[in-house]
């Protein structure tokens, strides 16, 4: 492989990893706080992309979609958590099953409202060109994705580590029961966490849409990848999501180039190995719960 190709693939890997981070952060957060593997995460991602499609069609503004889609998803999360998940508090398997049902409903409704053909979202103006990197053209949008993810990571880190709400979330990930015993309104905390997780998924959907398209079935791919990232990097922490994304993104990209036949299987093999050797992932913190 020529050095230019390596550089290109490396950038691809990093930008894919950046996207994976945005996608997986929400899932990790929800699991860390609530011990729920949100299997509707892919559906949230998908909904974000379709909402973005609608917004761009209506206003022609990509940046509006970047704001509106996560807000919509946040509201969806704020409705679902109290309405459905809360009734199953403490019953983790049932909660996971519930998210399956939610995913079924959301993906079907999306198909009803927006149809089942593949759609595309145009690149936002300003990022629809390629620039010259090491002798070949590289789309600026992918560089934007990397930059966006870095900024988002910094913002999330700041919120997570330096604000009161972040402290509450960290404490909740550690021991939600204790928080409740201390008088914190864990119901509200869980609802907010779930909403934030959903919003992040929706944001990932918007950001991914110009590069990856908008089509039925994108929810399953997104869900699978976010599960892999979260498992590899660490269940329950933002740091874990970033480590996982940083590993899986390039692995997937280089894998596709080097061993196209079994790239996908290889990724899952890595996931399985890590689950077996270190169930909590490379950086994760888990409580042994049923």
């Amino acid at each position: 492989m020529s050095p230019e190709l390596v550089l290109q693939q490396a950038l691809n890997g990093i930008s894919f990893g950046a996207l994976l981070f945005i996608l997986a952060a929400g899932l990790s957060l929800i699991f860390g706080m609530m011990d729920v593997v949100n299997l509707a995460h892919g559906a949230f991602y998908m909904l974000g992309a379709y909402v973005a499609l609608q917004v761009v069609q209506a206003t022609g503004q990509f940046w509006a979609a970047v704001v509106i889609a996560p807000v919509v998803l946040g509201l969806v999360g704020l409705v679902i958590e109290p309405l459905l998940l809360r009734r199953l508090r403490g019953r983790h398997l049932e909660q996971v099953l519930l998210t399956i049902g939610v995913a079924l409903v959301i993906t079907d409704l999306i198909g009803l409202v927006w149809g089942r053909e593949a759609r595309t979202l145009p690149f936002p103006p300003g990022f629809d060109r390629s620039i010259d990197i090491a002798g070949s053209a590289y789309p600026t949008y992918r560089l934007f994705v990397i930059a966006f993810a870095v900024v988002l990571a910094v913002v999330l880190y700041y919120l997570h580590r330096r604000t009161a709400i972040g402290a509450l979330i960290r404490a909740g990930v550690d021991d939600a029961e204790m928080l409740a015993a201390l008088g914190v309104d864990t119901d509200r905390l869980f609802a907010v966490t779930f909403a934030v997780g959903a919003a992040l998924a929706g944001l990932a959907g918007v950001i991914a849409a110009p590069a990856f398209g908008v089509r039925p079935g994108m929810d399953v791919d997104a869900l699978i990848f976010s599960l892999i990232v979260v498992v590899v990097g660490g269940l329950g922490t933002l740091g874990g999501a970033s480590v996982g994304a940083a590993l899986v993104g390039p692995a997937e990209t280089f894998g596709k180039v080097l061993v196209p036949q079994f790239a996908l299987a290889l990724i899952f093999a890595i996931m399985a190995v890590i689950l077996l050797a270190r169930p909590s992932g490379l950086l994760g913190r888990i409580r042994i719960s049923r």
């Binding site: 398997l93 049902g101 079924l104 409903v105 399953v220 299987a265 899952f268």
Partner: protein, 332 residues
């Protein structure tokens, strides 16, 4: 569960004990002869196709229930064995040069069992959410392989033109013959699951489900028990997969995919985990929604999702469980 006591040796309760198996046998006979006695009815061919598919997935759901309902091991990777069996049946017929039922069905069972043995050995020690995720990961590996090993499986295009089996010279290609094959295999699998449920082995699985710690303290090697249940469930799923391959004459990577694993779970839960009738009813209901309802209304999957959510929230024990509760209450 009632156990035989001196009282059950008298006339009345004995009738009650034998009624269910008798009803089951009668139902099987009715199903088997369905193409004959419904021939004059309109839509008979369509109906027997739907019935056939319901029974194929009833076998699949019964196999998954061995894991979820009996052994208490909820898995999201069961499609690996269903799809694995389907591909094995299709590929065996093509590569081994024979359509003999024993060979192709045998291939499906062997491949599914081998997969289950390997995956089970690695996953069975995990519990709860980790087991769920591990089974999902391994099933996705199988999906990836099915998707990308185009030479063997046809890749993303799937495996078309699956050859239907031949039973000792009898060609089972006609629709009615395949239908009857499905009925017979379903009957056998249902019998197997029923027998296991009432056997000492089945009771040991319940023990593992209810209190694994205690089972170990009593001297049971629960890891081996769980692995045996996993392989048994996987093998039965492989049988369902073979039936599916023959019914649709087509195998696709989706048969190994997350959607199929999820569908199985939905069927078992809605019908009633841990019962014989539950998975069968669940398969019937889900297939009804997916096939019949979907041609009438465009939002059938939404209906399925909502039904599923309702059951998870309010009726975790499924249709059969609810029916039993209502019946007990009515009798008081």
């Amino acid at each position: 569960m009632t156990r035989p006591t001196k009282a059950s040796l008298s006339r009345g309760p004995r009738v009650r004990r034998w009624a269910p198996p008798f009803a089951g046998a009668a139902a099987l006979v009715a199903l088997f002869t369905f193409p004959d006695w419904s021939a004059s009815m309109e839509g008979s061919r369509y109906a027997s196709t739907i019935l056939r598919d319901m029974l194929v997935f009833a076998v699949y759901a019964l196999s998954l229930d061995v894991l979820i309902g009996r052994a208490g091991m909820p898995s999201l990777g069961h499609a690996a064995f269903f799809g694995g069996g389907a591909y094995a049946a299709a590929i065996a017929a093509e590569r081994l040069g024979t359509d003999e039922l024993a060979v192709t069905l045998g291939a499906a069972v062997v491949v599914a069992a081998a997969l289950a043995l390997v995956i089970g050995a690695l996953t069975v020690r995990a519990a709860g959410i980790f087991f769920l995720m591990l089974t999902l990961a391994f099933a996705q590996m199988a999906f990836a392989i099915a998707f990308q090993w185009t030479d063997l499986t046809g890749g993303s295009n799937g495996f078309a033109g699956v050859r239907r089996p031949v039973l000792l010279g009898l060609d089972l290609s006609p629709p009615d013959s395949i239908y009857r094959l499905v009925v017979v295999v379903f009957g056998i699998v249902a019998l197997v699951v029923w027998w296991i449920a009432r056997s000492e082995y089945g009771r040991a699985l319940v023990g593992v489900r209810e209190n694994e710690r205690r089972m170990r303290a009593l001297g049971y090697d629960t890891t081996r028990l769980k692995l045996s249940a996993f392989v048994l469930a996987g093998s039965l799923a492989g049988v369902a997969g073979a039936l599916s391959a023959w019914s649709f004459r087509f195998v696709s990577p989706n048969d190994v995919g997350l959607g199929t694993s999820v569908t199985g779970f939905v069927m078992v839960l809605i019908g009633g985990a841990g019962t014989l009738l539950g998975p069968i009813l669940g398969a019937g209901l889900v297939l009804y929604i997916e096939r019949v309802l979907s041609s009438a209304i465009p939002y059938s999957q939404t209906v399925l999702g909502i039904v599923f959510i309702v059951f998870v929230l309010a009726a975790r024990q499924g249709l059969v469980g609810v029916a039993v509760q209502v019946w007990t209450r009515v009798r008081r």
